[in-house]
């Protein structure tokens, strides 16, 4: 597959990476018009796609900064003597219902609902204050006038509309908006809570896997998502490599799953690190709701919702790392949590890897491609060249050997436009936006 690059670099060029600039989540809204990113510093940057213009056809569909705001600040839990990081773990857009845009953003403990709205008019002609806002002397007012709205420079403002806090003991890893557009769920390591978007002082716990004795803890929840159109159904993944599907109609407390998706482990691959690499880092429903995609450390799997005993398809992302697990354990890379995404038609999967590589798998043709997000290799409007990792034997000229991979450059977060072939790839503190070749 050919990908024409339109690089939209989010941060200015820096030699060293500032930790607070590291992008921690990327998400398109439901129309693809907006793209939100969250970073370790608690900031959210929203990009908006430019309207098509006959005068500048080459700028079709470029994303420009629309709004930037500080979503979360670092906090301190005095009771536990712990700092609560401001890092944005997840952003989820709400469906657009009026002129304003709404998104949910979360750090480890608190979810916030933000309203992003435009202001391009301002009222003028107040009676009690002048144009600068200073209060007028009432004795100087001799006539009454009606304030009028006059055009002004476009201003985009973000305001926090709801703050959902004090409901999670452990670290929030996921949020998911329900298709009923009234509720959403937030998930931490051991519990899932259901919220009403309007109510902040109350939430309902729907899943709790905390054992009575914490020494008996064997698994944690790693991700959760609502079904795209069945508002009673959701799934959550675990560190043991299983996925549970729950139906909220069965009972108020969904500790007992309706379906359990699990593949038996291959005993020949057993090692010290089997538990770690089988832990699922992301789970996503397909847009149709018929399939599930999961990401563990080495592979992406597609499951049919109607078949629990084994995945429909398995795609190896970087199996050449299987022999390097000890080193990856040493440098902590084995704990990296890669996300995975579907394209709009559920025919292509995408996920990240190391060395700023990301991979796409076409489910129909069974072809796959490795691409790289880097400034050196990505001139604007140039076509991305497929990359290849040499796993043994003689290395060809354009291949890279496993030992040369840069494990500090990892692509954990990616997003795919809901209907077009436009992808957003977060590479540390840079955001790359690629789209299909334009004729």
């Amino acid at each position: 597959m050919c990908v024409c690059v339109r690089a939209c670099v989010r941060a200015c060029v820096r030699v060293c990476v500032c930790a607070s600039d590291i992008i921690s989540t990327v998400e398109f809204n439901s129309t693809g018009e907006l793209l939100a990113t969250g970073d370790k510093g608690g900031r959210v940057v929203v990009f908006q796609r430019e309207q098509e213009s006959k005068n500048q056809p080459h700028r079709r569909g470029e994303y420009n900064v629309y709004s930037t705001f500080q979503s979360h600040e670092p906090e301190f839990d005095y009771l536990k003597s712990l700092e609560i990081e401001e890092k944005i773990n997840k952003i989820r857009w709400l469906p657009q219902q009026n002129a304003a845009y709404f998104l949910l953003s979360t750090n480890d403990k608190t979810v916030k609902l933000w309203k992003i709205s435009e202001r391009d008019k301002r009222p003028e002609g107040y009676n009690l204050k002048d144009e600068e806002g200073r209060i007028r002397d009432p004795t100087t007012i001799t006539a009454l006038r009606v304030p009028v709205l006059r055009p002004m420079d476009l201003m985009v403002e973000a305001t926090p509309r709801r703050i959902f806090s004090n409901a999670h003991t452990y670290h929030i890893n996921s949020i998911s908006v329900n298709s009923d557009y009234e509720t959403y769920m937030s998930t931490d390591d051991l519990r899932i809570n259901l919220w009403n978007l309007e109510i902040t002082n109350r939430s309902f716990n729907i899943v709790d896997i905390k054992p009575a004795n914490m020494e008996e803890l064997t698994e944690v929840i790693t991700a959760a998502e609502f079904h795209p159109n069945q508002c009673n159904t959701f799934v959550y993944s675990s560190s043991k490599g299983s996925i549970k599907l729950c139906d909220m109609r069965e009972s108020a407390l969904c500790d007992n799953h309706s379906k359990l998706f699990e593949e038996p482990e291959d005993p020949s691959n057993r090692s010290f690190f089997s538990e770690i690499i089988s832990s699922i880092s992301d789970v996503k429903f397909s847009h149709s709701g018929r399939y599930l995609m999961t990401r563990d450390y080495l592979a992406v799997k597609v499951w049919d919702v109607n078949m629990e005993n084994k995945p429909l398809e398995t795609y190896q992302v970087h199996d050449y790392l299987r022999s390097k697990l000890c080193s990856l354990y040493e440098n902590d890379c084995i704990f990296d949590k890669f996300e995975c995404v579907w394209n709009g038609t559920d025919s292509v999967l995408m996920t990240g890897s190391y060395n700023n590589f990301f991979r796409m798998f076409d489910r129909n043709t069974k072809r796959d491609v490795t691409l790289e997000a880097s400034r050196e290799n990505s001139k604007p409007r140039a076509i991305l060249k497929p990359r290849k990792v040499c796993v043994g034997g003689k290395r060809r000229k354009d291949e890279i050997s496993v030992d040369s991979l840069d494990f500090s450059k990892k692509i954990l977060h990616t997003a795919w436009h809901p209907s077009e072939n436009i992808i957003a790839v977060a590479a540390t503190n840079n955001l790359y936006i690629f789209q299909d070749k334009v004729n």
Binding site: E85, M214, E215, E275
Partner: protein
């Protein structure tokens, strides 16, 4: 194998220790994976060490078949000990079926940090969740920290 197991055990313990001072607090998922890896490595390491200690004895002394069986039984009991056991073993309440002297690790592994006094080792931190769900689907409960200190001590 035991060299690698020992290295992984040491690595896991040091990672568990350093994660306690991480910004944002202890990460439950990471701590769980670390302690599972550490336990797997520990089990293999102990099994390898015990095997090494038993094997040199065999050619020196002709043992009764019965006695040898008893030693083998003890080894088997130690090796097949449930991983879910309380890591702080109560030595007085060991399996009463075998009263033979168990093969013990003679020297404490040198990668363990020196024991030092610390507060709050056995008591779990107790705190009360601020009531949030008015309808009370789940009753309010006390919160406990993940007891990684226990995971570290028992080696």
């Amino acid at each position: 194998m035991d060299v690698e197991a020992r290295r992984i055990m040491a690595l896991s313990i040091s990672k568990l220790y350093s994660s306690r001072t991480q910004r944002g607090g202890l990460r439950l998922h990471r701590s769980l994976l670390l302690s599972m890896t550490m336990r797997a490595a520990r089990d293999i390491y102990h099994a390898a060490v015990e095997q090494e200690q038993v094997v040199p004895c065999a050619p020196e002394e002709p043992m009764d078949t019965k006695e040898q069986d008893t030693v083998n039984d003890s080894l088997k009991e130690v090796n097949t000990r449930e991983p879910k056991d309380n890591l702080e073993e109560d030595k007085e309440n060991q399996d009463s079926k075998s009263r033979k002297r168990r093969v013990k690790t003679a020297i404490e592994p040198d990668f363990l940090p020196p024991k030092k006094a610390r507060m709050d080792t056995d008591e779990e931190r107790q705190e009360v969740l601020k009531p949030n769900n008015g309808n009370g689907c789940r009753q309010t409960e006390t919160l406990t920290a993940f007891p990684t200190n226990r995971a570290i001590v028992a080696c």
